[in-house]
């Protein structure tokens, strides 16, 4: 799928300006970033340095103000709402700090959602969702509402949901930020397993212990990349 020898993400001159009316905040400036398939990357930097902004653009949740962004060889910087929705659905699995599970529906229904949006058949959805719960070790919790689960369990449901459509790219914005250290360590293991299984992962963290487990560390400061290298 990628013509550029294994480069999944290719960003050139990406900038993001938030226009708040009174003043303009330049959250990202001249970002050049290439991530190859199967890389396990951590993004670090002080609070407000633009980590989330960058990850949101990579995850097609937001669009850059300027610059070029090729995902899997496809220029997505100019895509409209529905095409971006498609990219998010098929290529990206997003994991949030606050889990972002829908509270009114069961864990099962939450994991099923991306498959529903993809148009997967009912039988295939069932097979797939059950399989995913098996993988994250929560097969006995499928019928529970998110509020009936612990933080660590909720994050594992969120991971199952992120994996539902077999994404090319898994993105996580401080996935252990809301967890105690035990659960955090648990989640870290899941990430390591995913990396070993050949997935491409980008994880924002301010936890050095996590960053140390990744292969490559990108450092942001004031919206610029100030460091990028193997751990």
């Amino acid at each position: 799928m990628s013509e550029s020898n294994g480069a999944l993400i290719e960003m050139k001159g990406i900038s993001k300006v938030y226009d708040t009316g009174k003043l303009q905040v330049e959250a990202l400036t001249g970002i050049d970033l290439t991530v190859r398939e199967r890389e396990f990357v951590s993004i670090v930097g002080p609070s407000g340095s633009g980590k989330s902004t960058l990850l949101n653009i990579i995850g097609c949740l937001d669009t850059p103000t300027d610059g070029s962004y090729r995902l899997g060889g496809e220029e997505v910087a100019g895509f409209g709402g529905d095409r971006l929705a498609d990219v998010r659905n098929r290529k990206i699995g997003f994991i949030f700090q606050s889990f972002n599970l829908l509270p009114q529906i069961t864990a099962y229904d939450n994991v099923e959602l991306p498959l529903l949006f993809k148009g997967t058949s009912a039988r295939e959805r069932k097979r797939r969702v059950e399989d995913l719960f098996e993988r994250v070790g929560l097969a006995d919790r499928m019928a529970h509402k998110p509020t009936e689960l612990s933080g660590g369990q909720m994050q594992r449901v969120a991971i199952a949901r992120a994996l539902a459509c077999d994404p090319d790219l898994i993105l996580a914005d401080e996935p252990t930020g809301n967890l105690d250290s035990n659960s955090g360590a648990d989640i870290l293991h899941v990430f390591q397993d995913l990396a070993e299984a050949g997935n491409t992962l980008l994880v924002i963290t301010h936890d050095n212990a996590i960053a140390q487990r990744t292969e490559r560390m990108v450092t942001l400061q004031d919206g610029r990349i100030t460091g990028d290298g193997p751990v």
Binding site: R90, Q104, G119
Partner: protein, 410 residues
Amino acid sequence: MYLRNYLRQFLSDLLTQKLRTFLTVFGIIWGTASVTLLLAFGEGFHRQVGINFKGLGENIVICWPARTSKDWQGLPHGRRVRVTDEDMKLIRSQVPQVARISGELSDSGTRLRAGRTTVAPQIVGANIEFSEMRNMIPDRGGRYLNPIDMGSKRRVVFIGDQLKKDLFGVDEAVGQHIYFDGVPFLVIGVMQRKTQDSNYSGRDEDKATIPLSTYQAIYGEEYLDNFVFQVAGIDDVEIAKDGVIATLARKYRFDPEDKEAVLMWDTTEMLVFMDAFFLGFRLFLGIVGALTLVVGGIGVSNIMNVVVEERTKEIGIKMALGAKKRYVLGQFMFETLLITAIGGAIGLGIAWTICAVFPQFGLTDYVGDPTISPQVALITTGILGSIGFLAGFFPARTAANLKPVEALRM
């Protein structure tokens, strides 16, 4: 394809927001019941006024021979026009648009006695066709005048239902005698009860009708007081009126343009006016009802806006997972239309129930029975559907146009 998903979401939302959902649905119930009932009462009232009006007779013209007001062929104006029973046959043969015709004579001097009761009602002499034309239908067990009564000038009488009560109370009247200033008349029939809101010589329920020939023989009257004719359809009435005047003008030598020689009350004019009036009346009721429903719709729209705001995070999450605009749009349209449909169904049910029990209140003669005609149901459903669509569309579009990052930040 998302139907099951939408429905599940709707139900969980409904359960967590019971009061709000109830209030929303209530607005629609109220509006729907209002529109339906206003239209149904308008329809029922129109029908009833029609029925009451037709108590006098349907498509009939009542004619009073009077005086000429114009000179004609050397004859002066101011001559009396006198019409006989023979002229009725003449008119019938000359004017094919006249479907039925009868002369009429009436007076109220005679005293009628049955048993110990004496009254002095209006006495009418009429022909056989008078019954059908003027809606004076015999009740079971009795009959109206027949050709033998006419031919032999029999002393028989057909009485109004109120007159029957006055003279006989609850007793059987048919077969009994009524004494007309001492002369016995056999009662052959009692009029079926009817509602009648217009008349020209008293209500039919109070009258005693005898054969025209008998009347003329007893009272020595040669000329008719008036005559009544009926046309088959309302479109025939103008030609028929002109034909009747022309026939009489030829025979009695007056100007056929003379509007005063024979005075006419064309009851169909009233019907035409009434139809126009009721069109306006029902339009007014419909608009008032529709506005009530619009207010309900605005309520739904407002609440859907609140719902969208509250559920922004949920929308953001779904968008992050790949939900497209049409999914979000569909979800909120589905919820609005479902609320509207449920409210509409309950509102229609309430209106239907009220229409079903209304006849028991005994107000039918005055305001009619409210009627949910297919037309009423169609109009209500149409208004309801448009309101549901509009109320849902704008909040749903707001939701669908949210940016994923911004929605997620909520």
